[in-house]
């Protein structure tokens, strides 16, 4: 049976789509799933860096679409998990070089070879968003606890509903419990109340994320990371398990004062 195609998108830029794609791809691979992640953000190419696979790229998605390489050649095998593969984006090309039907064909072909195909969508609601979501069996909407990000997420959900996508799930990223407590940040229930879709992840703000991205080693690998734990929980939920949401802890005073890890 073909694997499940999951697209990660957001509307607003910079909310954590690529971070989420990297962590969920690796998290599912940790659980033993065969995973192919596709970087659909043509021209910006970030996913390879977050996974630490940047210097292994030979061919990319656009090469494959243009028939310059075979399917397998456009896949980079992860150095830690042999069942995790990345299809990188082209850095020197443009989103216009991709047609919806190309992306759909490639995603379906990937799904023949994997249990999960994760697609990292570009920000926005234009062409890049459309080609990234055409083949999706499920869409994960990433947002931050900010009115602008929530507004854009709502727009995206409306567009997806019009296209017949009915089971989109929500990930709220960069939650700071201490700000929520002080009423300085939207709390998750207010966000879910507006967006009215199922919540599948609450990811805390975590300074480990930046270090981890720079090192090419997603936080999901780090047993002590709060964000890593939250991403692990999402992977269980994606596999159909009903895992309760771990309440987020406020960072310790030391960590706050000195930004310690």
């Amino acid at each position: 049976m073909a694997g499940k195609i999951i697209t990660i998108t957001s509307g607003k830029g910079g909310v954590g789509k690529t971070t989420t794609t990297a962590n969920l791809s690796m998290g599912l691979a940790i659980l033993g799933a065969r995973v192919i992640c596709i970087d659909a953000d043509i021209g910006l190419r970030n996913l390879d860096m977050m996974l630490g696979l940047e210097n292994r790229i030979v061919y990319d998605l656009v090469n494959l679409i243009e028939g310059r390489c075979r399917f397998r050649q456009a896949l980079i095998r992860d150095k830690r998990f042999p069942e995790l593969h990345l299809m990188p984006a082209a850095q020197t090309r443009d989103k216009k070089d991709i047609r919806e039907e190309d992306m759909e064909r490639i995603a379906r072909q990937a799904a023949e070879m994997a249990d999960y195909v994760l697609i990292d969508s570009p920000a926005g609601i234009e062409h890049g968003f459309r080609y990234s979501t055409v083949a999706a069996d499920q869409v994960l909407i990433v947002t931050n606890p900010e009115v602008t990000a929530v507004r854009d997420a709502d727009r995206v959900i409306g567009l997806l509903e019009a296209e017949g996508h009915k089971n989109s799930k929500l990930i709220i990223n960069r939650v700071k419990p201490e700000l929520v407590r002080r009423n300085e940040m939207m709390d998750t229930s207010a966000i879910v109340d507006i967006l009215a879709i199922d919540l599948i992840g609450i990811i805390p703000e975590d300074s480990d994320i930046l270090f981890a991205s720079n090192r090419g080693s997603p936080v999901v690998l780090d047993k002590n990371s709060a964000a890593g734990q939250a991403f692990r929980e999402v992977t269980y939920r994606l596999q159909g398990q009903d895992v309760p949401f771990t309440p987020l802890k406020e960072p310790s005073l030391l960590k706050k004062l000195f930004g310690l890890r």
Binding site: R108, D137, I194
Partner: protein, 224 residues
Amino acid sequence: MNWMPLSIKGTPQGLLLQPKSQSWTEFLEALKQSLYDAPAFFKGGRVILDLGKRELKEDELLALRKLLNEHDIELFAVLGEDAQTQRTTRSYGIRTRLPGERHSQQRTNEPQVQGNALFLQKTLRSGQSIDFAGTIIILGDVNPGAEVKAGGNIMVWGKARGLLHAGAMGDENAVICALDMQPAQLRIAGYINRAPEGKNYQSQPEMAMVDGTMIVVQPWIARG
């Protein structure tokens, strides 16, 4: 012309194939014959199977795909109403709707005009808008960033949080009602009322109307 167990039409997306026979074997035989008779018509192309209400079993689907593949033809999509057939089809990585096509089940959520009123049973999300000369009734929320514009009244059986404009053609007697009124902006005819700043609002049914020279919002109390 003879009765045919199938119909074939060229479309921009591919060849549209409709079985006309109840028997799948008969349909496949007829298709085989067409493939034989007019190979150039099919060569390297793709086929969209349109089932209508008909169900398709897994082995029937696979037999068709095999036949097409033998002739170097892609089974591009299988369209039809039966949910089980759609699931089976998708489990083989074959699409069940055409790229860019609207989903058919969306229809129940489409606005329905009933007399002088427009009835909408869904939440209006950011960027979505609705515009109607009469009264608009919404069973759902109006989210921030959504817009509702009615020539007559607006009734929201849900939370009103976007921009609502009643009496948009100048009717100052128009009203706006909502189960929970927290809109970004209310307009009635030419009057504008911004949402009060601050967080002290109560979640209760309210009605907005023009009183004198301004819009007032009052708790809804049924009067005999």
